[in-house]
Symmetry: C2
Subunit: 405 residues, 2 copies
């Protein structure tokens, strides 16, 4: 008995049959005595189809109008899911983002939630309705529709769970939880029962696309217990929460990110403020820089190498080309041949030697390390892309041998 | 220089090419120095497709959820049209029904407009935007989305024109105006330059599906000058207004309505209050009764015959079957073989002999008249459906011979 927020992505509601499947999950949860708020995304390819329609008319469409267009997608989903729930004999009420109280800032296409005013949701729950909320969308101070950007429905669900102090926020996906590594590539990968917010954040950043990072950050901030589980199989998933039961695992997961570009600037003047100017400009363009390596200055110049997401490499190069003090310098970009392999685990914070063990595993697998980055709960290495899967397996075997079948 | 409201139906915005065509009409109007508010319907088959999706999930879907579903259709149209207008170098802003200030009652599926609060529209016009409004939709006092029912976008356009005291409300369709008869069936049919609200109302009721009746009623009430014109050809259409220049036409148009059912109740008790009870019950179910014919009572019974729209025949029979005092009476319904042919014209009000001339024309064409109904500006006859086209031609030739080529 409690309040459960459930979120279903676009593939979970792609057609009538899947919408009915979601309705069954939702009504089963309700029938157990819970209040239920469901957050849904647009059906299957709806968003892509709408983007295509827009491109045909105006490839440079205004972002406000894009948000007006795309928010129609979730509107269709919430109406259909409500009909499906009612078909099963339960009462449902669909609410658009603005009806559900989502106030956002005005950055069309990637708005931030400022506040969720849950008055209407509470009213409908009091009336014993299952409340079906359109994810991904909100309203700004001009009373215009906004969207929250990629993965926005996860964020919508966690935001409602936070604002309503829900007992649990269940994110239904096409996988049944968070694994120690990609099970399609690592034989011994196992599903985790629990994982901390910080570990989940590192894994998400590193390419394990189970949960959107913003939603995990929000869950951490408001201490929302999130469960990642499958919409197709009825079994427990992985809980994401502040502290997890101690296990002997130093490393909770190993992951490879192949969407990486390495950019090197050769012969930068060896004077103060250069790094600040370069990375400040990149940050101003919202380009996240990951691993940074700066050579020890030789004579009066030094080399700076860093990684960005592969998608951002072109834009990053454009930014560098606008910087006067880099004029004439050699700038190299490798967007094809590198990958980042990371081991993540809250356990490593208090256990020295984790990095050494990882490097040893890579050495024994004959894999060359190009760059290294560490945080309290993560060690990442940049390696040749062709070695990525081998590297993940090697590191996984080193830290998680027990999880192999 | 003025304020023009323009309305485009679903077929006018069915694909990217047509959306661009509409954008050109709109921006040409704006470029001539006018403020422009555009009202659009859902694209082409969108509404039908959404209804199909709903039926697949729940054939008896709740009307509130149907409105939530269907309003997504116009939302897509307004975003795309705004993008098209901006592509042509003009500024546009799309507004949903509720953003445009449409307050309605709560009859989901066929809500009535209570008020249009034009604050937001005015604000956007002041900013020199072309304002693109979603037709067919509004918001009720519970802050839930509603739809205005069939032809609702016409009503939306006229309501904005009324509230803003627009100089003209242009309804773009796939015909280029209102004709004296259906030009596909009557060789001599000609386009009218002008027609009164009352004449337009009669024609609309009689099956000339150019303008939705509610929109004409509203235009009459608020004295909005409406123009019906083609979205494909650039030429003047037909003006609908209070008074029109006198012409020698007694009859403005002749039309046939084949969606008619004739229902007869044989041997009703010849006592007071019977008609009231029958037609009161039908009215309570929103079934419009048109021609009514009551036989002179023989002994202590009489026969009552009336017509309703063919679509309503089944429901009308159900209502009659619930009436105790009709139990055991013979009720006949002909939903297949009758049609109603009508001549409409404000001129006939002051000219006796119009009815006689119409009956003569029908007699000479060898057409039997089953029932007759007259109003100040209309004469309708119920005839055999197979004679409908011949009857329209005969009556048209009698009153409008000059318009033949």
């Amino acid at each position: 008995m409690g309040l459960i927020v459930q979120k279903f992505g676009g593939s979970s509601v792609a057609n009538a049959e899947r919408v009915m499947n979601v309705a069954r999950i939702v009504t089963d949860t309700y029938a157990k005595g819970n209040d239920v708020v469901v957050v849904v995304s647009a059906q299957g390819d709806t968003t892509d189809d709408l983007i295509e329609k827009a491109k045909e008319i105006n490839p440079n469409a205004n972002k406000r109008e894009m948000d007006m267009l795309l928010t129609a997608g979730e509107q269709i989903s919430i109406a259909l899911l409500s009909m499906a729930i009612e078909k099963l004999g339960y009462k449902a009420k669909s609410l658009l983002g603005w009806q559900a109280g989502f106030n956002t800032n005005s950055v069309y296409g990637s708005a931030r939630i400022k506040k969720v005013d849950t008055k209407r949701i509470k009213l409908e729950l009091q009336k014993k309705h299952i409340v079906v909320v359109a994810g991904f969308q909100g309203l700004n101070k001009y009373e215009d529709l906004t969207t929250l950007g990629r993965g926005g429905s996860d964020t919508s669900a966690v935001a409602i769970a936070a604002a309503m102090q829900a007992d649990r926020c269940q994110i239904f996906t096409d996988v049944d939880g968070v694994y120690t590594a990609d099970p399609r590539k690592v034989k011994g990968a196992v599903k985790l029962d629990e994982i901390t917010y910080d570990e989940m954040l590192e894994l998400a950043t590193l390419g394990a696309q189970v949960l959107n990072n913003r939603s995990v950050e929000m869950a951490k901030k408001y201490n929302v217990v999130v469960e990642v589980l499958s919409s197709l199989e009825r079994k427990p998933g992985t809980l994401v929460k502040e502290t997890v039961k101690m296990e002997k695992m130093l490393v909770r997961g190993v992951t490879a990110d192949k969407n990486v570009a390495r950019i090197s600037i050769i012969g930068v003047p060896n004077i103060p403020g250069i790094a600040y100017k370069i990375f400040g400009k990149l940050a101003a363009k919202n380009i996240n820089v990951d691993i940074i390596l700066q050579s020890v200055g030789r004579n009066d110049t030094k080399d700076i190498t860093f990684t960005v997401a592969g998608d951002n490499a072109g834009e990053a190069l454009e930014v560098l080309n606008t910087l006067d003090f880099l004029a004439g310098k050699t700038i190299e970009c490798d967007n094809e041949n590198v990958a980042k392999v990371s081991a993540v685990g809250a356990g490593m914070e208090t256990h020295p030697g984790v990095a050494a063990k990882m490097f040893e595993a890579l050495f024994e697998a004959d894999i060359n390390i190009q760059m290294i980055s560490t945080s309290e709960i993560k060690i990442s290495v940049l390696i040749d892309k062709k070695d990525a899967d081998k590297a993940v397996n090697a590191v996984h075997d080193a830290f998680l041998p027990d999880s192999a079948d």
